[in-house]
């Protein structure tokens, strides 16, 4: 079994996202999107059971590759990344085009994603990749039960449902679906010698086009001049009085 698992490098999420000409400003040092840790964890659990080969796939500005290293530290075998200046500001379809080609390059049986990135949150890339690859998409996985077969529990709007994992498919894993592992010192050192192959746009079949034109960013901030009270014992009463005034109680 071969598995491709997607990892996105994003600006430090503790800082506000800034934009330049409509694009997210990306420093040289970006980190692994925590959302991807769930997908990587599922990939590693499959690797342990089925002796699969796990390749991290990624696109975008690579910079110091910190985020790729963080992904490899968790336990995947290698990485295949694509960086090309012309992809800056890619729409979802362009991104999905690249990632589906990277999945093909590693001959993945199973391609795994988080459900949406923390900086772009378009929330459609796994589904688009599945459609491009002509494979079933098992989206919004919230639990994984790995025995001789793999049972996947999907989140639905009314509850959940289970699906047997097909031998060829694309998965998206929700945050909280599994408990991502923490690398130890040995894992961190081992990751440094794992291969990170870099390819360019000319190495893949790429046909997606940009169809979303940036117009502007408008400030619509509505900072409230609300009341702020430091509690000195009566804070609870202030809240109760306010709830009464609002006729909430």
């Amino acid at each position: 079994m071969k598995i491709a698992v997607c990892a996105k490098q994003i600006p430090d999420p503790a800082l506000d996202i800034t934009y330049s000409e409509g694009l997210v400003s990306r420093p040289d040092e970006q980190v692994l999107d925590d959302t991807d840790r769930y997908g990587i964890e599922v990939a590693l659990q499959l690797k342990e059971k089925f002796d699969a080969e796990v390749t991290v796939i990624s696109m975008g500005k690579m910079g110091t590759e910190k985020g790729i290293q963080q992904a490899l530290q968790m336990g995947p075998d290698k990485a295949l990344v694509l960086e090309d200046d012309s992809l800056s500001g890619s729409n979802s379809l362009m991104t999905a085009n690249v990632l589906s080609e990277l999945s093909k390059k590693v001959e993945a049986d199973i391609t795994i994603f988080g459900t949406e990135s923390t900086d772009g949150y378009s929330g459609v890339i796994p589904q688009q990749v599945s459609r491009m690859l002509g494979l079933p998409c098992i989206s919004y996985i919230k639990a994984v039960d790995i025995a001789d077969t793999v049972s996947l529990t999907r989140q639905t709007s009314t509850g959940s449902e289970k699906v047997q994992m097909p031998s060829n498919c694309v998965l998206s894993v929700t945050a909280g679906g599994v408990e991502p592992r923490y690398p130890n010192f040995k894992d961190i050192m081992a990751a440094k010698s794992k291969p990170v192959e870099k390819i360019s746009l000319s190495d893949i079949e790429f046909s997606a086009v940009q169809n979303i034109e940036f117009i502007d960013i408008k400030d619509v901030s509505t900072t409230k001049q609300g009341e702020k009270i430091v509690d000195e014992g009566e804070g609870f009463q202030v809240i109760i009085d306010k709830l009464k005034e609002l006729k909430a109680i």
Partner: protein
């Protein structure tokens, strides 16, 4: 502009997300029809004021790939150029599949849109709702995923007539063990009061304090992405960019710092009360009433004195 709204059935009728998009389409005078996805028998989704086609799926199959094929045919045959769906689990899958079929990327998380000289202009909320990101779609086919609660829903008489049904037969993976979450107590989407918890509750065992307060107020319970990721609460209770959008009369944020990710999902609540021990917490910038206090000790006091 010929428009297709992809709708969903929830509890035997059109979902509120669907009704919101219908309302906006009527307001803009779009020439639209609806294709509604569901598994229920003869739901009340028909109306005299618009055409609806029911795409009835077998609930024991993951049939959205096949639903997308049927929708593709509709879009082709009727030369539809604008295709919209609520940003839900179903809507996201379908719009993603269709965007590939028509080689036209979607715009996700749309909170507003307009038609100007035949172009579709979309607005997204960024920076926790402090800014609006506007863009223009330049392709012939335009796909939008609309954030729920972006528009007021249309008030319309719905019946189980006035629509055509297409049975979706697929060879997609089989689904088993369907579990319907029991809806106990007030729901996030339609509760007048929402009480939400964040990391400031320190430990999942302290969520009982939140439950007690919510129960006294007859409020729905929500949480931040951080505590949902930590496994304290199911994803269905997540409020924020990647969770639900709520607009209750009163939103009470307990131990929530107010990351932009969270603000997007609750900032339009009519009245926001925030309790946080950090005086500088960003949540206070969008609160109507902020109390700087130790959340764990003040919450039981409120509950006791209600």
């Amino acid at each position: 502009m010929k428009t297709l709204i992809i709708g969903e059935v929830v509890e035997g009728k059109l979902s509120s997300g669907t009704l919101e998009i219908i309302a906006k389409s009527q307001e803009l005078g779009l020439e639209f029809e609806v294709a509604t996805v569901g598994t229920e028998e003869s739901p009340n989704i028909g109306s005299e004021s618009f055409k609806n086609t029911y795409l009835k799926c077998n609930e024991t199959q993951l049939s959205l790939g096949s639903v997308a094929n049927t929708l593709k045919t509709m879009v082709d045959e009727q030369s539809i150029s604008l295709i919209m769906a609520p940003s839900t689990y179903v809507g996201r899958d379908l719009i993603a599949f269709l965007s590939v079929d028509f080689s036209s990327s979607q715009v996700s998380n749309v909170i507003n849109f307009s038609i100007e000289e035949g172009n579709v202009i979309t607005s997204n909320s960024i920076n926790g709702g402090e800014s609006e990101y506007n863009s223009k779609i330049t392709s012939d086919k335009k796909f939008l995923l609309i954030r729920p609660k972006s528009f007021e829903e249309v008030q319309v008489e719905l019946s189980n007539t006035n629509y055509e049904t297409i049975e979706i037969n697929s060879e997609d993976p089989e689904v088993f063990d369907i579990f319907i979450e029991e809806k106990t107590g007030p729901q996030l989407e339609d509760s007048k009061i929402v009480v939400s918890a964040g990391r400031g509750m320190v430990d999942s065992s302290n969520l009982s304090l939140v439950e007690d307060l919510a129960s006294k107020l007859n409020a729905a319970i929500g949480g931040t992405r951080a505590i949902v990721d930590a496994g304290w609460m199911p994803y269905s209770q997540q409020v924020g960019q990647t969770g639900k959008t709520v607009k209750p009369d009163v939103y009470i944020a307990l131990g929530i710092s107010g990351a932009t990710q969270h603000q997007v999902g609750m900032k339009d609540s009519k009245y926001i009360i925030a309790i946080n021990k950090d005086e500088e917490a960003p949540i206070f910038q969008i609160s109507d009433l902020g109390i700087v206090a130790d959340t764990l000790s003040i919450v039981p006091k409120i509950t006791e004195n209600l």
